[in-house]
């Protein structure tokens, strides 16, 4: 069923069940996000995608990644209040990740030059705890090798007991999906290292071109899951 709503003064059609973010993105309206990815269930952690929503005479600030599109909603994606709030969010993120390229660029784009916090309190993390790595590992890959541990300011993306993650298959999805480059992964020779989870994997060598192309453990996991023949991955996708 199609419904009509207004975003930044313009009327748009939306399908029931869509989120405000989906409607905006479909129609070329830019809303910043960090913890969002279209293939993963929205989480609502970074709060960057907030918009102002007017319904029944009340104005509320909601995260567009989660708020459902409803008939008659009036949405403002860039009101002064929203812009102010986004600026503070980026200030807070920059204070946490004061040397991170992505966060610095986002902050600069918002006109943030100096932070209002003392330099001695600045931190140098890369991880913003968006949880994308964990949610991907759970929802897409299906192994749930990692999780967000502890609570509050000590919350951290980690392998169980901060030891080599036993369930990790080395697919590198976490590395590819991380929005700030906080996951450090390296393929060196015949070995893949994912330093954050303290794991290393032997890479499979292609029988044709001789290149090391994917972790054996990952391929074994896929092979078993889809009941593929033993030699299915002996040749890399490039050579097939």
């Amino acid at each position: 069923m199609m419904i009509t709503l207004t975003i930044d003064g313009q009327k748009f059609q939306a399908k029931e069940g869509q989120t405000l973010l989906q409607v905006a993105q479909e129609n070329g309206i830019e809303i910043p996000t960090l913890c969002h990815h279209e293939a993963i269930e929205p989480y609502g952690a970074c709060r960057l995608c907030i918009v102002e929503v007017m319904a029944k005479g009340r104005s509320r600030i909601v995260t567009s990644c989660l708020h459902p599109a409803e008939a008659g909603l009036k949405v403002k994606t860039n009101s002064p209040k929203i812009v102010e709030n986004r600026k503070t969010l980026l200030q807070l993120l920059l204070a946490r990740c004061s040397n991170n390229k992505i966060i610095k660029a986002m902050a600069a784009k918002m006109g943030i030059e100096q932070l209002p916090f003392k330099t001695e309190y600045l931190e140098y993390n890369d991880c913003i705890l968006c949880g994308l790595c964990i949610r991907t590992c759970e929802q897409i890959v299906g192994v749930s090798a990692i999780s967000l541990v502890n609570r509050g300011i000590t919350k951290w993306a980690a392998s169980p007991f901060f030891e080599p993650a036993p369930d990790c298959i080395g697919c590198g999805s976490c590395y590819y999906i991380c929005p700030t480059g906080a996951i450090k992964m390296e393929d060196k020779g015949d070995t893949r290292y994912i330093y954050n989870w303290k794991v290393e994997f032997k890479l499979k060598k292609c029988k044709v071109c001789g290149n090391y192309w994917a972790p054996e453990k990952q391929l074994e996991y896929i092979r078993k899951k889809w009941n593929l023949p033993d030699d299915f991955f002996d040749i890399c996708p490039n050579c097939k």
């Binding site: 970074c46 909601v62 969010l89 003392k118």
Partner: protein, 634 residues
């Protein structure tokens, strides 16, 4: 020093209870219990709540039993360990019925005299009565004691009449008759209508109208629905729910079953805070006994309605008091809240319609159904009906649990019931609403206690914690305290709460340690405003309240800390100095012994000691130990 053991044992029913198959059988049982208990028989009710446990009530109860036997009165007296009567300041509390003689500060040594004189001879032991500190008047009966005079103990009133581990006591005072009435003479719609009409609002802090909430849940799509008792009372300083669950768990159960019937739910959860072992134990006993008797389980009282309930313990996380975080915890996940754009009454626990209410809210239900919404509406104010239980604590004389009609003023609670500020100090502020609330100064003492009035003043009702502060409390320190608490309790999911509270706490830390800057107040206000706008859940959106109210009403204290590096209340360690008042120091050396860093030098008898200020770690040990006021603080 006061100490006691908490005996952690399994459920204590040592006699078999017969199953009841109809309301008539319930009434027969009630009459049987009443017939067997002689109403004129003397009953000694000794409070066995956690507070009095810490005062040693287990031993007190044993000694009473021994003494009664020794004096040959065992068949004339019932000794009962009961729920909390609320006057925690004066524990151990012993109430002797049927005359309601109220003894406070009872010690083991007092027992022989009480047994001989009050039980054996109907005489009153004067020194154990409550004495008004100013008029010196003594009060014999509980209802006359000033602490109780302005209270309206509709919910807590049964606490001192019943042994919470014995369902027959609850039945004897009319318990479960309302459940029988609802199951057999009312439809779910009628029950919901009555709750709506009563104006009952959630007592956990949100103040959401209960009737409409039940109605939404009943209407929600789905065959399986849940009801939950939120007993994760995390506000520090609040212990109302603890006293209710420990003292009268059946009142909560009865309300829950009625609500489940109204909503069409057959499965319930009671989520009790980890730090309340006695409450868990007493609720477990209550559930067991209710099941045995047929008031829980299949075909309750032969009505055809099935309902079962289980207890889940919290794991030490304040955030799990938030309904979606609580539900996540029940699903075996970490207690992270989620957006409530779809309400939990539609999609809650396991994505099914769930109605969650606070302990006190559930306990109000049998009362409303029994006496009717129209009667209930006569109590309270236009927007806030009924009574509210507050835990009145802090720098007030009479600390404890008070149940008052909504609309009573803060002054009446603090001065009439609480008997004013202890140690002759001056009132400074009252904090309501826990970490989500605010500090209100003297100018608000005549504010009627009401959901909307408190919110308008910048605070909120919250779950009922009411902490009184005096001239020796530093309001900047109080703000720092709450932010430190919330920083630890934040689940850490969303950026504004996790990072924002951290930065605010750092700023407050700097202010209290003499490193505050002029721009700090503005920065605190700005961060506050954005936390309110963009946080994921109420922990984050209400975290700024203590900071904003203290800035609003006590700005001068902030400015003294920032501009003068001075703490007017003498609390912030980095900004205070301990010093020796030479004229008052007799050279006794007590402080020298107390000092952990050997910073005070003994100079011989009759000579004042010398305190080496630069080396002093400001622990306050010398200030505490000196009884002659020779240690000063500035």
């Amino acid at each position: 020093m006061i100490l006691c053991w908490v005996a952690m044992s399994e459920t204590k029913t040592s006699w078999t209870l017969k199953k009841l198959h109809s309301p008539k059988e319930l009434e027969d049982l009630r009459r049987q219990i009443l017939d067997q208990s002689e109403p004129e028989k003397t009953r000694v009710s000794i409070c066995a709540g956690t507070g009095c446990l810490a005062y040693g009530c287990v031993r007190l109860i044993e000694v009473f039993k021994d003494e009664v036997a020794k004096q040959g009165l065992a068949d004339k007296v019932d000794i009962k360990s009961t729920g909390c009567p609320g006057f925690c300041e004066r524990g151990n509390i012993v109430v002797i019925q049927p005359k309601n003689v109220f003894y406070q500060r009872v010690k083991v040594e007092d027992v022989p005299q009480i047994v001989a004189e009050t039980i054996g001879d109907a005489k009153v032991v004067d020194r154990l009565l409550y004495v008004d500190p100013i008029t010196k008047e003594r009060f014999v009966h509980q209802e006359e004691v000033p602490f109780y005079q302005k209270q309206q103990r509709l919910i807590l009133g049964n606490n001192e009449k019943i042994d919470p581990t014995n369902i027959e006591d609850y039945i004897a005072v009319g318990g479960y008759s309302v459940l029988a009435k609802t199951l057999f003479t009312m439809t779910p719609e009628q029950i919901i209508q009555e709750i709506k009409l009563s104006g009952l609002r959630g007592r956990g802090g949100g103040g959401f109208p209960t009737g409409p909430k039940w109605e939404s849940c009943r209407k929600a799509h789905g065959d399986i629905k849940y009801v939950i008792v939120n007993a994760d009372e995390g506000d520090p300083g609040a212990f109302m729910d603890r006293a209710l669950l420990e003292g009268n768990p059946h009142s909560v159960l009865e309300g829950l079953i009625i609500g489940a019937y109204a909503i069409d739910s057959h499965e319930g959860y009671i989520y009790v805070r980890h730090e309340y072992p006695l409450a868990v134990q007493n609720v477990r006993t209550a559930i067991d006994q209710a099941e045995q008797v047929g008031l829980l389980g299949n075909n309750i009282l032969g009505s055809g309605f099935d309902f079962s309930v289980r207890i889940n313990r919290g794991g030490g996380a304040f955030v799990c008091g938030e309904s979606t975080a609580l539900m996540a915890s029940l699903e075996g996940k970490v207690g992270e809240p989620r957006a409530k754009y779809t309400h939990t009454v539609e999609k809650g626990l396991w994505n099914r319609p769930t109605n969650l209410n606070n302990v006190e809210t559930w306990a109000n239900v049998p009362l409303i159904i029994n006496l009717g919404a129209n009667w209930y509406k006569t109590i309270g104010t236009e927007g806030s009906k009924g009574t509210k239980i507050f835990s009145l604590v802090g720098k007030v004389n009479n600390t404890g649990l008070v149940e008052v009609p909504m609309g009573i003023t803060l002054r009446e609670i603090i001065y009439d019931i609480g008997d004013g500020i202890r140690d002759g100090k001056k009132f400074k502020a009252v904090q309501t609403g826990g970490p989500s609330g605010g500090c209100l100064p003297e100018t608000f003492l005549d504010l009627p206690v009401d959901f909307d009035e408190l919110t308008k003043a910048g605070s909120m009702m919250g779950s009922g914690g009411m902490i009184v502060m005096d001239e020796d409390n530093c309001m900047v320190d109080v703000a720092k305290y709450f932010l430190t608490f919330l920083e630890e309790e934040s689940c850490g999911k969303c950026v504004p709460c996790r990072e924002g509270i951290k930065r605010m706490r750092q700023i407050l830390n700097d202010i209290t340690e003499g490193r505050g800057e002029d721009k700090d107040i503005d920065l605190l206000e700005q961060l506050s405003s954005h936390l309110i706008d963009s946080s994921l859940c109420a922990l984050g959106t209400t975290a700024p309240n203590p900071v904003l109210t203290t800035i609003r009403y006590f700005r001068d204290e902030y400015e003294a800390h920032i501009r003068e590096k001075r703490c007017p209340a003498g609390v912030c360690k980095a900004l205070i100095h301990y010093y020796i008042i030479e004229e008052k120091c007799p050279g006794c050396g007590l402080c020298v012994k107390a000092c952990p860093e050997q910073v005070i030098t003994f100079m011989g008898k009759k000579k004042p000691v010398i305190l080496d200020e630069p080396k002093c770690i400001k622990c306050g040990a010398c200030y505490d130990v000196c009884k002659l006021g020779a240690v000063g603080k500035r």
